[in-house]
Amino acid sequence: MQIHTSSFSLPTSTPKPKPFRPIIASSFSISDQDLQSRGFTQHRSSTDLDLDALNTIFARVGFPRRDLTRIRRALDHSSSLLWLSHSKPGEPVAFARATGDGVFNAVVWDVVVDPSFQGIGLGRAVMERIVADLRGMGIVNIALYAEPRVIGFYRPLGFAADPDGIKGMVFSKKNIINRAS
């Protein structure tokens, strides 16, 4: 199966079947049981999620604080999301969500772990599960944008940067060049 990119050029090679990678719950680095015994609750819906607390955790890791209505809208239109809570219900200590078309492509956004809970494998736990959820929907084209300092975090999770020279690109109005007619 091909990576579906934004290109309109002809694919240059015959698609090879992807190696079968079974989703095995026990292959999570921290099992569901272990998460639970350590006091973490998994949530896959944003109903009980305290948006203000989410905004705070975003701010703590250096993301911009966002308008709560827009966060609500973004969560409602994410095809997959997962957050972990600990002692305070409704307060996320780890979070990730994905958008996409539900069949072919998905992009993972906003992967965060509260600084006081970093370093114990929660980021990995959340990512493994979100990928498993997406694969459960039949999606194998799972992409994300990684800052340089976290590229190493995503690699052991199975993510590769610029495969076959495919580049992640972002639109910027300031890049529009004024050309003479």
Binding site: S6, L10, P15, V103, I176
Partner: protein
């Protein structure tokens, strides 16, 4: 498709939001998009309509149809290339188009679902009108692009394709430009995509930057 040079190249909005593509004269003035020129907009007759960008809170902008160009062939047949963000895609037309660009076929039910779950589906159609009494129209899908989004912050553009016999005329650029414009109108601030190495420059010319601040696109177990 070898035609004579286009007799009129116009890029404007259908001012009355209506399914009929009557050519209406809208007040035209140069705006932000004036600085973006598609390859075919070379002569001075081109004018660009500035999109109204103020929307009421939670108001969704209406899907729009834009006549990108109009040309009259020597046999009197008028052809219009029309952009639309309404997402009216006939699945079989799309399959034919994908075949033409050499993409592997995908199950139609999945394609249908992927379109339904996309935030915006943009199309290019060629509409030819015969000079007969009824003005018989033939409509052909010649391009498509779609974007998924969380409806608030991020959008990702996928599957940009243009019929090979219509390539090289700046239509791919126009398609992506209009899609970007539609996304910006809806206040989506982060517009992203993943580009094959061969088309990175194409997107650079449209205002995209690869690896901004070193941020890299990564894929889960790509087949490469």
């Amino acid at each position: 498709m070898r035609d004579e040079a286009p007799t009129r190249m116009i890029w404007r909005e259908d001012c009355s939001f209506s399914r009929k593509r009557r050519i209406e004269l809208c007040p035209l003035r140069a705006g932000f998009w004036d600085s973006i020129r598609s390859g075919f907009l070379k002569n001075n007759n081109t004018q660009v309509v500035e999109t109204p960008t103020t929307l009421l809170e939670d108001e969704e902008p209406l899907p729009q149809e834009i006549v990108l160009l109009e040309r009259t062939q020597s046999d009197g047949i008028v052809e219009q290339i029309v952009f639309s963000s309404a997402g009216d895609v006939d699945l079989y037309d799309l399959q034919t188009l994908c075949d033409k660009v050499g993409w592997p076929r995908r199950p139609l039910s999945k394609v249908a679902a992927s379109l339904k779950n996309s935030y915006l589906v943009a199309t290019l159609h060629s509409i030819t009108r015969l000079p007969d009494a009824e003005g018989t129209e033939r409509k052909q899908l010649i391009g498509m692009a779609r974007a998924t989004s969380d409806h608030a912050f991020n959008a990702t553009i996928w599957d940009v394709l243009v019929d090979p016999s219509y390539q090289g005329q700046g239509l791919g650029k126009a398609l992506v430009e209009q899609l970007i414009r539609a996304l910006l109108q809806r206040d989506i601030g982060n517009i992203t995509l993943f580009a094959d190495s061969k088309v990175v420059d194409f997107y650079k010319n449209l205002g995209f930057e690869a690896d901004p601040e070193g941020i890299k696109g990564m894929f889960w177990f790509p087949r490469f």
